[in-house]
Symmetry: C2
Subunit: 357 residues, 2 copies
């Protein structure tokens, strides 16, 4: 084992702060470095053009027209490998953006598709990806209405990168926003965690895990619409659990809203093979990426009704109530074990596994 | 000089048709190969989800809501180098998408920004680019409301790629579409051609041309809005002249609409230094990329009025009337010289210069 004890010379040998001067993989990982980049560079720059209330980072921007509220979002996909158990970059690109719209309560209407192709990419690969995008768009009732194609030289890209942006309409009476999260809210999760990250890992590292482990890559749009009948006004916030997993999503909201979050460890669903793979690889499933799971913040009086509605939907039979928003320990997420012991789930610097979406 | 005469062995040595099996640089070049890719792969796939009239490829999709018409477009920028005389990738990314909205007659409202950063990119480079994007967005009255950041490993990207998507509103009474191009329409161009491509080339190849040659990279949004007062209904179609230049844009429209186009060569404005650089490099300025020029198809009775309006706008003092749509020679663009001789401007396979936007 490496000796990790402090050494005398540490104080005399300052670590270069390169992470602040150049982009690191962790800046794309959904953790602390990415949050810093957004808060210190993007928001101050782009917020200069914005009027009205402070914009909290969220999955979609909600935009008022005179007679309708639109949601607008963008997402770029650089997943490696392009094909993985349960999905591919095309499917991921459509569901990813549709899910971001759904997190604002919006029904997806229109999608754009922007391709960056690497010279030499087999046409058949592109054809499969495009077919997969169209199948996914069809399934969720959205239409790809505009697109763009760029080609970069060999070695300046990696097969194919896809940006999808999306426009949707927010139904009347729906008001989903991190700003509405409040102490007392119950926290629900729509299914078991960590499948997508482990599915990617299994192909990338050539590891075969016991049992089938397809990605959870899928649409959350229909699930969200079905929840509204169970109490639209009482669903305060939705967040899909992508890079950085459950722990990162909850940390963001806790820090943005200045609340605490208490999770009940035994009630958090993780499938056996995912738990096994995580143990083998030294990963924490609460930080592993998902691509078809959401977390919902619901007023306490409606939480059971919304949980029942989730479980009745074909995509969320394993939905669970996993925690509560509290008015103490502002900005922290605490995991309480079966015996009452607790540990803080902090925001990681980056992702445990880069390029999973 | 190389001997280019046919040789005996040519027939016995078939050229591999690799161009059909893998992506070539030319598939991103705005020419015939890109058109094939769009027509043979993207449109058939994505059109399956579309209802109503056949969608002609255009810069923005126009989308009806109950009470407003929205324009929606996407564009990805992979320009190399990131900084060039007269602009940078950030400015280009904002103006490019804003200009695509303007080509549907739409006023830009909201923009998204999706970054693909290569590990190791200096933060200062990114900061300059972001500041440039914000300045450009501010200038055109648009707001960056949503974004996304991905990081790829060193050698799997090239500094920074940016996707911008945009949403705008199309004013009442404006109906800009390639479907409205008709024989008799006069063709106007908003300024001299070829600056952007030559500006990029000069940095990339380290060539110093005589005289200053900044890119024309700029917004067309305000120009378009100012034209509407000169006859909105009579402006049939607008197209910004990016990859593939004037010749490619006109070829697309001639082929889509089954009309002919006749251009008057002496009236097409090309600045002296651009003409000189093109001669030196063996390029045709009519195929060289622009990033702040448009072509307008206008009903004959309004053409002079619209031309005057262009020339009064600060961005288009050199606007010119350069040709006419005819009902013969369907699908072809012909350049008529000062002495009456003509030559066909065909669609190239790709771009003369890759990665100019």
């Amino acid at each position: 084992m490496t000796d990790t004890s402090p050494r005398e010379f540490t104080l005399n040998c300052p670590v270069p702060r390169e992470s602040h001067n150049t982009v690191q993989m962790a800046h794309g990982g959904g953790g602390r470095l990415m949050r810093n980049l957004i808060e210190e560079m993007f928001l101050p720059a782009f917020a200069a053009g914005q009027t009205g209330e402070k914009i909290l980072p969220h999955d979609s921007a909600v935009l008022p027209l005179e007679t309708a509220r639109l949601a607008f979002t963008t997402d770029t996909f650089v997943v490696s490998p392009l094909f993985f158990p349960g999905g591919d970059i095309g499917k991921l690109a459509v569901y990813g953006t549709v899910n971001d719209l759904a997190m604002a309560g919006a029904k997806p209407l229109w999608l754009s598709a922007g391709f960056i192709l690497e010279e030499g990419l087999p046409m058949d690969t592109l054809r499969r990806i495009v077919a997969s995008m169209q199948a996914a768009a069809s399934e969720v009732g959205a239409t790809v209405v505009t697109g763009d194609t760029k080609v970069v030289d060999r070695g300046k890209g990696d097969g194919v990168f896809i940006n999808t942006s999306g426009v949707g309409v927010v139904p009347d009476g729906v008001e989903i926003s991190p700003a509405r999260v409040a102490p007392g809210d119950r926290i629900l999760v729509s299914g078991d965690l960590g499948r997508h990250g482990i599915a990617i890992m299994s192909v990338r590292e050539g590891i075969e895990f016991q049992g089938a482990l397809p990605s959870d890559c899928g649409s959350l749009s229909d699930l969200v619409q079905s929840l509204f009948s169970a109490g639209a006004r009482d669903i305060h916030c939705l967040r899909d659990l992508t890079r950085g997993g459950l722990a990162s999503a909850l940390n963001e909201i806790a820090k943005d809203r200045g609340v605490g979050i208490e999770l009940d460890e035994p009630s958090i669903p993780v499938a056996g093979p995912v738990a096994g793979a995580c143990e083998l690889l030294g990963l924490d499933p609460l930080y592993v990426a998902n691509e078809g799971r959401l977390v919902a913040f619901v007023a306490p009086g409606s939480a059971n009704r919304v949980l029942d509605a989730m479980r009745q939907h074909p995509s969320a039979p394993e939905a669970a109530m996993i925690g509560t928003v509290i008015d103490r320990h502002s900005g922290t997420v605490e995991l309480r074990g079966a015996l009452g012991g607790g540990r803080i789930l902090d925001l990681l610097s980056g992702e445990q596994m880069p390029r999973i979406c």
